[in-house]
Amino acid sequence: MRNYSLEFMRIFLMFIIVFGHLNEHLPILGKSADLSPHSYMAVQSFFVLGGFFAYMNLKKYDFCGLMMKTYHRILPPFLFSVILSIYLWHTSSTLLIKAFFLLPGLYPSSQILYAGDWFLGVYFWLICFFSYIYI
């Protein structure tokens, strides 16, 4: 049976992150209800959730299987975002290589889109690290 409460938690956290980003650059709600600190907290929660599910997935997949699954889950939407950004906002096409290896967030000034894409690189490589240690 599917766990709807965890799905709900994902939706809740994601909306907080997106609205936090929105409010960070466009303070629509004013400083009295600034969502930016909450989006940082939501990211922490998202990481905990990600680590938990990665551990659970290790029962179903081996190390390479889990990495491929995670990579295939992250790459298509990220690639789409980067390609569209390059096309629309004329950013450098060399960023595609960075996106392909999921490097954002791993070293200073490694972000591509400056809107939370560091999360993907950090998430993928840390899942890789912890799964490797666990196995």
Binding site: L26, A33, S45, F52, P76, L113
Partner: protein, 193 residues
């Protein structure tokens, strides 16, 4: 044990006030996002292994304890949300990680009252499949706003931003992730192997 001690020590060393200065304090101590992820993903892994070994039977006491943690999470979260910055509440990364771990455990095993109630909303499935695409799609208009340091009226930009994000989410999910990408991967496999 060493890992746990290092983990706790590290969490305690980065605790700060709950306003915007939390992250500036964090970045002042550690100028990278990697340790933040390390703490939380490590916490998630630790939680996974603990929840594998310890199964808590559902009883009135366990439901009461986990309901307390669920409300504790909401208290921490909404204190930030409702209080004007700089907030008087302090933010502790260790506290936040522990409460999160209890919350995820509670939501996973349906131990608390809130998780039991939320689990009854089965239509959430129709929204949750778009969540990841929504996150990715918001980066594109966000990138534009960030790069151009937009000075347009905030409400108009907000509507444009949300509209663009929703349209891009649908395109990303239905067209790119579900159709083009699998087709491209299959085609590449056919060519290469």
């Amino acid at each position: 044990m060493t890992v746990i001690v290092i983990f706790c020590f590290f969490c305690i060393s980065v605790n700060a006030q709950a306003d915007n200065s939390f992250m500036s304090t964090y970045w002042h101590v550690i100028p990278s996002e990697l340790p933040r992820g390390f703490i939380s993903i490590g916490g998630g892994f630790l939680l996974g292994s603990v929840s594998d070994k310890i199964k808590i039977e559902k009883s009135l006491l366990s439901i009461a304890i986990f309901t307390f943690f669920e409300f504790y999470f909401l208290r921490l979260f909404f204190n930030f949300l409702l209080s004007p910055a700089p907030s008087k509440y302090s933010f502790n990364l260790l506290e936040w990680t522990i409460v999160n771990c209890f919350l995820v455990y509670s939501f996973y095993n349906l131990n608390g009252m809130i998780s039991i109630l939320i689990n009854k909303i089965d239509k959430v499935n129709y929204v949750s499949r778009y969540v990841f695409s929504f996150f990715m799609a918001h980066m594109i208009p966000m990138h534009y706003v960030y790069v151009n340091k937009s000075n347009y009226p905030a409400a108009e930009i907000c509507f444009a931003f949300l509209g663009a994000t929703i349209v891009l989410t649908l395109i990303e999910y239905h067209l790119f992730s579900k159709r083009l990408y699998p087709y491209a991967v299959a085609w590449l496999r056919k060519i290469l192997f």
